[in-house]
């Protein structure tokens, strides 16, 4: 492999470029895997990977090369990918960023992992994340925070912080992530990469370590909408092992329909107080670009946007408190060294195994489900959730897509908000409603704020409208180059 051209050091080729190189036999899957493994080793300071197993990766690459040699033609065959550590994997450890699962290896692969392998992708390893996907900055990992490649003193966003960081830094052309309240979109925005959280039920949750079952949804991160479309096509689809997976005919997300003629809803609640000026400027500029591409902007209202924070922070912790009950030290995971009886064994194992944010949410969730509080909190939050979903449906009567900022600010300094959980929760205001409604949402690089930090544009579609979202994003990326900007350190 040559050190210059599309595969050169510091370059960040898209999946389409890698595909061409592989098909022309300019590079083998093994060589490609070796190149990325070397980059990962060189950039260990990012703390993005929790487990790399070179031998295993190369074995997968050899299998891909054999399939290539046999003449198989698949868009992702031989392309490397890295998985958020929320997806369980055979071979690579699966920790969910928690001490509770330090050293845990799953006897089975998540459906997403299985599908991407079947599509021919080569796994580079497992990616750091906030513990059990709870957080907004990737600082809640038991294995330390992840650095933002754009500014090593800043957070990459969360909870799929490492997924965004590795794509931004060119340590992997693609990564999987999960999104419960914005965990794919917000880090993608803060690291300047493209991500899509599909409609709830599009991508199987089997093998995703559960945080909040009614909200969790896996999705891809990559350098462009076109790459995300390829990845989503391989990841999505009905899975009989997940009862909430939707049995729907497969769609070709690669069609990428143009943006011309689209009515784009601009919710006034997304542009009010609290939105940083640099973010607002970048988002407005990108909306004007869509107008230039033939779309029309429509003023809309999502009146209950503010209520999405309390509703989410009741429902998600409620489900989490129950989902995390299985971590009791009995069958697997961390077990305390000293205990006098069974109850103490379970209590100590949990006290030692979980971090502060996870405990906070277990306490909150346990409280809101308790006798006497259930109606006032959990049921009330469910009602608000339905109203929020209704607000979106009302809005979609006058528009095809909704656009606005992903997050109120660009990436903040490591440690800045980690002492104030409420300040951290407020960062999720623009992404939570989409999750509560189960709608698909994208993050597309749309500019740079102060300190050249990336800004993300959020594109929200109606249910199962991923194709239209990806198409609009693709056309935007055809006429802008925000998604191609590389962080200073990663560029050669």
């Amino acid at each position: 492999m040559s050190a210059v051209g599309p595969m050169g050091a510091g370059s960040r080729p898209s999946i389409a470029v890698l595909r061409a190189e592989l098909d022309k036999r300019n590079v083998s899957a093994v060589e490609l895997a070796e190149r990325y493994l070397a980059r990962i080793a060189a950039e260990s300071v990012l703390n993005a990977f929790l487990h790399v197993d070179e031998a295993r990766t190369l074995a997968e690459a050899r299998a891909a090369d054999a399939r290539l040699a046999a003449g198989e033609k698949l868009p992702l065959l031989g392309i490397p990918v890295a998985h958020k550590d929320i997806f369980v994997t055979r071979g690579w450890r699966s920790t969910a960023g928690s001490k509770m699962l330090a050293g845990y290896t799953s006897p089975f692969d998540a459906t997403v992992v299985e599908r991407l392998r079947a599509a021919g992708m080569v796994c580079l390893g497992k990616l750091n994340c906030d513990e059990f996907a709870m957080g907004s900055s990737n600082e809640n990992s038991a294995f330390g925070p992840v650095q933002n490649p754009w500014d090593r003193d800043r957070v990459p966003g969360g909870t799929s912080g490492a997924s965004a960081a590795v794509v931004a830094a060119g340590l992997s052309p693609a990564a999987t992530g999960t999104d419960t309240g914005g965990s794919l979109r917000q880090p993608a925005a803060m690291c300047g990469v493209t991500a899509i959280k599909p409609t709830y039920g599009r991508v199987s949750r089997y093998g995703m370590i559960a945080f909040a079952s009614s909200l969790d949804q896996g999705g891809p991160m990559a350098q462009s909408a076109a790459d995300c479309a390829l990845l989503l096509a391989a990841m999505a689809g009905f899975d009989p092992r997940d009862s909430t997976s939707i049995d729907r005919a497969a769609e070709d997300y690669r069609a990428l329909p143009p943006a011309a003629g689209l009515r784009i809803g601009v919710p006034k609640e997304f542009f009010g107080e609290g939105l940083a000026a640099d973010v607002a400027a970048a988002v407005h500029a990108s909306l004007r670009e869509f107008e230039r591409l033939g779309a029309t902007l429509v003023d809309i209202s999502l009146p209950r946007t503010k209520l999405s924070i309390p509703a989410y922070y009741v429902i998600a912790p409620a489900e989490a408190s129950s989902n995390l009950s299985r971590f009791d030290g009995v069958r697997y995971g961390h077990r305390a060294a000293d205990y006098d009886d069974l109850t103490e064994m379970m209590a100590r194992s949990r006290a030692e195994g979980f971090g502060a944010e996870v405990k906070r949410r277990i306490f909150t969730g346990t409280f809101v489900l308790s006798h006497g509080y259930y109606d006032a909190y959990y049921l009330q939050a469910q009602k608000v959730r339905r109203l929020i979903a209704q607000d979106f449906q009302d809005a979609f009567r006058s528009c095809d897509l909704i656009m606005g900022p992903v997050a109120p600010t660009t990436a903040w300094k490591l440690g800045d908000k980690s002492k104030d959980p409420v300040a951290m929760y407020l960062e999720d205001i623009f992404t939570l409603g989409v999750s509560l409604a189960g709608l698909p949402g994208m993050s597309v690089p749309c500019g740079q704020g102060a300190g050249n930090l990336p800004v993300g544009l959020q594109i929200i579609g109606n249910y199962f409208d991923e194709s239209r979202m990806l198409g609009a994003a693709h056309q935007f990326q055809q006429s802008t180059d925000w998604h191609t900007l590389r962080p200073p350190g990663a560029a050669a």
Binding site: V88, S106, S213, R241, S321, S325, D328, L369
Partner: protein
């Protein structure tokens, strides 16, 4: 103690294990008796990332039950029910919660008919809901001392929890209800009914109140009752305990009590104060259970004839008494036995008498079920034919039956004839032979003859008895009666 001044109020919760091949939310087998943890897959072990998928067979069985307890009508089957999580920590509960149904169960209402002695009564059902069983903690027999083991083979076994209204007023009624319910679930093939293996487990909620009181007394729930006999004893003990407690000026405390069959007593397990807050909420991993009318209709069409319909048919077409018909339809295998006997040529009334009489008492004595009866329905039918054609008196038939029971002629269908032949047990119906014996008996019993002629009807029976004795029980009793009357006229 003045038990007559007290009214006993009992409601029963029954956990019936549904007869599916695999678990309710995973593909593991539910076969009983496998080595520990060999029937627990990644879902049963609640490994990270696993999700439940509902077994449709369990739903189908719940629908069958909903139809059976409503005389085949479907209006008590919820078209939409919801699975909920019941959260609690226990090592044999791998997920830290049990998937059950809480606010919206699959079946609401319905009733079960019971019979105590000659009296029939209707027990109303509150609900029936689907849920998963827990695993088992093992505290004994492990290689390492001081260590507890967990067997998750049973974790995830499908259960239908059937809850009755507090409609029972005695231990006898409670047992009759449990037996009737057992009859229904085995009748419709949704549960194997094996109580030793825990396939049918009853918890009794027992309270007492002064006769005439409107308000229910404080109840105690009795758990761990794994036979009908223990259910009766546990309730009897609990009733006595509560009445004595109140009469001594005490108060019943709401609690869960465990029945100890060795000591024949109940003792406290946990009080209401320790009651856990289960934090029920709809399980977000499972969609609401939606049952279509088409599905119900399909299951309805495949339902076996239900006990009430059968009972009516037996009375109408076979001329049985309601009482006999009820006994025959108390269990599916009993009704099946009866129908096989009739098909094999037995007179229906005679068959009913024999099945409810001789056969039932023999089965009871040898602690056998009708399914394992040494005398088959076909064999019984062959025997009853010999009563109908006067080859055997009913007394002789009982003798032949006892040889059949002992397996004397093996399992051949006409074993009765073989025994009759071999043992020379044919009834003597030859007029001449009988007259000869009668003459001898008249000659030898002058006193009885005189008494009969003086108007003492009973004396005739003594003479009949003598004739039977002289014939070694083989004389046709009806004929003997006739001959005697004629000769003494």
């Amino acid at each position: 103690m003045t038990e007559t001044a007290w009214e006993v109020v009992i409601g029963i919760e029954t956990h019936t294990q549904l007869s599916t091949a695999s678990k309710i939310f995973s593909g593991s087998s539910v076969a009983f008796g496998a080595p520990p943890n060999t029937q627990a897959n990644v879902v049963d072990l609640a490994l990270p990332g696993t999700l439940p998928v509902l077994n449709k067979g369990a739903v189908e069985r719940a629908i069958r039950f909903g139809l059976a307890v409503n005389g085949g009508e479907d209006h008590h089957i919820a078209r939409r029910s919801v699975f909920a999580r019941k959260n609690y920590f226990y090592p044999d509960s791998p997920k830290g919660y049990q998937i059950s149904q809480f606010e919206l169960p699959v079946v609401t209402g319905g009733s079960v008919e019971i019979q105590v002695g000659e009296r029939a009564k209707t027990i109303r059902l509150t609900r029936a809901h689907l849920e998963e069983d827990a695993g088992k903690s093992l505290h004994e027999g492990l290689a390492t001392a001081g260590v507890s083991g967990i067997d998750l083979n049973r974790a995830g076994t499908p259960l239908l929890e059937i809850v009755s209204e507090p409609d029972m007023r005695s231990a006898a009624e409670a047992v009759a209800y449990a037996k009737a319910l057992h009859g229904i679930v085995t009748w419709i093939g949704i549960c194997d009914g094996n109580m030793q293996e825990g396939s049918f487990r009853c918890d009794a909620n027992v309270s007492v109140r002064k006769v005439g009181d409107e308000k229910l007394g404080t109840r105690c729930e009795i758990k761990n009752v794994n036979s009908f006999r223990f259910l009766e004893r546990a309730i009897q003990f609990e009733v006595r305990r509560q009445i004595e407690l109140i009469e001594d000026g005490g108060q019943v405390v709401q609690e869960t009590r465990l029945y100890d069959s060795d000591k024949d007593e109940t003792r406290p397990m946990r009080s209401k104060e320790d009651a856990m807050d289960y934090r029920y909420f709809p399980d977000p991993d499972l969609l609401p259970l939606v049952i279509s009318q088409a599905e119900i209709d399909r299951i309805k069409a495949a339902m076996p004839e239900l006990p009430a319909a059968k009972r009516e048919r037996y009375v109408k077409t076979h001329g049985l008494s309601d009482y006999d018909a009820r006994l025959l339809t108390a269990r599916h295998d009993t009704a099946a036995y009866f129908e096989r006997a009739v098909t094999a040529g037995a007179d229906a009334k005679l068959a009913a008498n024999w099945i409810n009489g001789e056969l039932a008492s023999q089965l009871n004595r040898d602690e056998k079920t009708i399914a394992s009866s040494p005398v088959t329905a076909t064999q019984l039918a062959a025997l009853l034919r010999r009563i109908a054609d006067a080859t055997l008196s009913s007394k002789m038939a009982k003798e032949v039956f006892s040889y059949l029971w002992a397996g004397e002629a093996g399992d051949e269908d006409n074993a009765a004839d073989t025994i009759i032949e071999k043992r020379g047990l044919k009834q003597v119906s030859d007029q001449g032979a009988l007259e000869k014996i009668v003459d001898e008996v008249i000659a030898a019993n002058a006193k009885s003859v005189a008494e009969f002629k003086a108007g003492k009807e009973k004396a005739l029976q003594a003479l009949v008895g003598q004739v039977m004795k002289a014939s070694q029980g083989r004389a046709n009793p009806a004929q003997v009666n006739e001959i005697l009357k004629k000769k003494l006229a």
